[in-house]
């Protein structure tokens, strides 16, 4: 059912375009750094999360989560561009199953997100944030799972929109709420009750929590057990891929 060649070429195409658009890498790297230092720096004076760390340290996993969220969603939303500019038709008439297209697109978003995560991790020593050596592969592994989950969710979103005008509504009504309800900026346990329940249906919450496990391995800043985090990410990834495959079927 899954055509390896098709999956491969869909990933290769996105990576090639990612490498060509140098500006995209710079701007996606700039965003987390701005958040980390402007928001983190400002808020550090106001809040102290305790547990022996500054606020800037506390939000670091959340900022990684944000990077993954934005880059995965954008990668999947490019499907709307492809629909508008025609290439999607070429892909849809090819003798390739819908699941191959979904897997190819989801993996390309995942790989691009993991590359960006890796670049941010590389910059850390220069920014004065210390990370233990083992945390790096651990973090990248979690980033992969989270990015795959968000990318496949992005594909479902993209199948519902036909043109680029819908872009700002996706940002305002899906991406931003997902970010603020994820525990990236504040511990989920401290949220008001309604928001806490909403946070629990947000896959990003569990991704950010898993990143907290990966980055602060000794400190107990997480809200859920790692097992729960990974379980939620894996199961929701499978569900999203299946839904995306069906919503891709011809209408």
């Amino acid at each position: 059912m899954i055509e390896v060649n098709a999956v491969y070429v869909l990933i290769a195409r996105d990576l090639k375009k990612f490498v060509r658009e140098k500006g995209r890498l710079v701007s996606t790297l700039a965003r987390p750094l701005i958040w980390l230092f402007l928001v983190g720096g400002g808020m550090s004076r106001l809040v102290s999360p305790g547990m022996g760390m500054s606020y800037i340290q506390f939000i670091f996993p959340g900022i990684l989560g944000m990077t993954i969220l934005f880059s995965s969603i954008f990668s999947s939303i490019s499907i709307i561009w492809d629909k508008e500019f025609g290439l999607m038709k070429e892909i849809l008439v090819a003798p390739v199953s819908r699941f191959s297209i979904v897997i190819g697109k989801a993996l390309s978003g995942t790989i691009i997100s993991v590359i960006q995560t890796a670049v941010i991790l590389l910059l850390l020593p220069f920014l004065g944030i210390k990370l233990s050596f083992l945390s790096v592969p651990y973090t990248l592994g979690v980033a992969f799972l989270l990015a795959f989950c968000i990318s496949s969710l992005g594909i479902i979103i993209a199948t519902f929109f036909e043109n680029l005008e819908s872009f700002s509504s996706i940002m305002n009504f899906i991406v931003m709420p997902m970010f603020f309800l994820s525990g990236a900026m504040y511990p989920v346990q401290k949220l008001p009750e309604i928001l806490r329940h909403l946070a629990k249906i947000n896959p990003l919450t569990f991704g950010v929590d898993a990143l907290k496990h990966a980055i602060f391995r000794e400190n107990h800043v997480y809200d859920f057990p790692l097992f729960t985090d990974l379980g939620v990410l894996i199961i929701s990834s499978i569900v999203f891929v299946v839904i995306a495959g069906f919503s891709f079927e011809r209408k």
Partner: protein
């Protein structure tokens, strides 16, 4: 052997019937022209054949595979050049073809040679490493034709391949298209609303408002409107007229000091007439019926007159349908 079979095919978008009980067959290795004004149902029919749309009723099959039940087999057997460009403008010409080759599972060791051949064929080999966004409209269309043949399809669909191109580019593109069946062993299914372009087709179906109103070879269709018209100016019209009528048994009329007569084989007839009334002839011209005349006779309208408005209606209806069903 028909390679495309369409039987009683219909497609309705809510109240609008885009394709209405259409049946036709296309023989292998031929060029088939599907003609009609914009909004007549050509693209809808192509989309059904390409497995992008499912029909409301009726059957369609390509190379023996049912378009609804075996979409994957049908997709392997066809190549398509859509009306709007479907290239990735941020990739090079070569990369676009590579993308296609991988999607159609072309063998790795054949990929490069097939892509190079296709690029040579459409004259874009020198430009293979340029980004497609730098290409002109005609180059993009040629690249799409090249892409369409890389996986050796048995049927190549061309939906309005020359739309929006300048006359010279159009002529160049036609040269490629006409050479395709022999060189690449492929059957061509093309749509156009330029009737004069359809002259190169082996067979034609004319569609209007979702229904097929005429079909046959271009010659057969043109015969239905009575054949060629010969116009003759002579030094003595009266005498020449009675001589021609007597010798050939044809009815000759006169208009603006010029005789004219309708006959099936105008080109063969002219020498005979000149032989008979030789010295009186001042000038002769032959007017062949065009497919435009055929369309005019069938529908009572010029094909150009109906373009535009009906096009917008059908696009609107399709869009509204999609919105509701997505």
């Amino acid at each position: 052997m028909p390679i495309i079979k369409v039987e009683n095919l219909s497609k309705t978008f809510d109240a609008l019937t885009a394709v209405d009980n259409v049946s036709f067959e296309v023989d292998e290795g031929t060029i088939f022209g599907f003609l009609g004004p914009n909004g007549a149902g050509k693209t809808t029919t192509i989309n059904i054949l390409c497995t992008l749309l499912s029909p409301t009723s009726g059957k369609a099959s390509i190379a023996g595979h049912d378009c609804v039940k075996e979409p994957s087999e049908v997709r392997k057997a066809i190549g398509i050049v859509f009306q709007d460009t479907t290239l990735d403008k941020d990739l090079t010409a070569y990369e676009n073809l590579m993308l296609h080759a991988y999607l159609y599972d072309v063998k790795r060791n054949e990929m490069k040679s097939r892509i190079d051949d296709a690029l040579y064929f459409v004259g874009l080999y020198e430009r293979r490493d340029d980004l497609v966004k730098k290409f002109s409209g005609g180059m993009k269309r040629r690249l799409e034709v090249a892409r369409g043949i890389i996986h050796r399809p048995r049927v190549l669909f061309l939906d309005e391949p020359t739309l929006g191109l300048d006359p010279q580019t159009r002529a160049n593109l036609w040269e490629f298209i006409v050479g395709l069946p022999k060189k690449h062993n492929v059957t061509i299914f093309m749509t156009t609303h330029y009737m004069e372009e359809a002259e190169v087709c082996d067979s034609i179906a004319i569609i209007d408002k979702g229904k097929i109103i005429a079909s046959g070879t271009p010659e057969e269709l043109k015969k239905t409107i009575g054949g060629d018209v010969i116009y003759i100016r002579t030094s003595d019209n009266e005498k020449a007229r009675s001589e021609i009528e007597k010798l050939f048994g044809l009815e000759v009329s006169e208009k603006d000091n010029e005789l004219f007569l309708t006959t099936l084989k105008g080109d063969a007839c002219i020498p005979e007439i000149i032989k008979a009334i030789g010295e009186k002839v001042l000038s002769v011209r032959l007017q062949r019926p065009t497919l435009n005349d055929v369309f005019l006779k069938m529908t009572g309208k010029q094909i150009r007159e109906i373009n535009g408005s009906s096009d917008d209606t059908i696009r609107e209806a399709v869009r509204a349908y999609r919105r509701r069903h997505s």
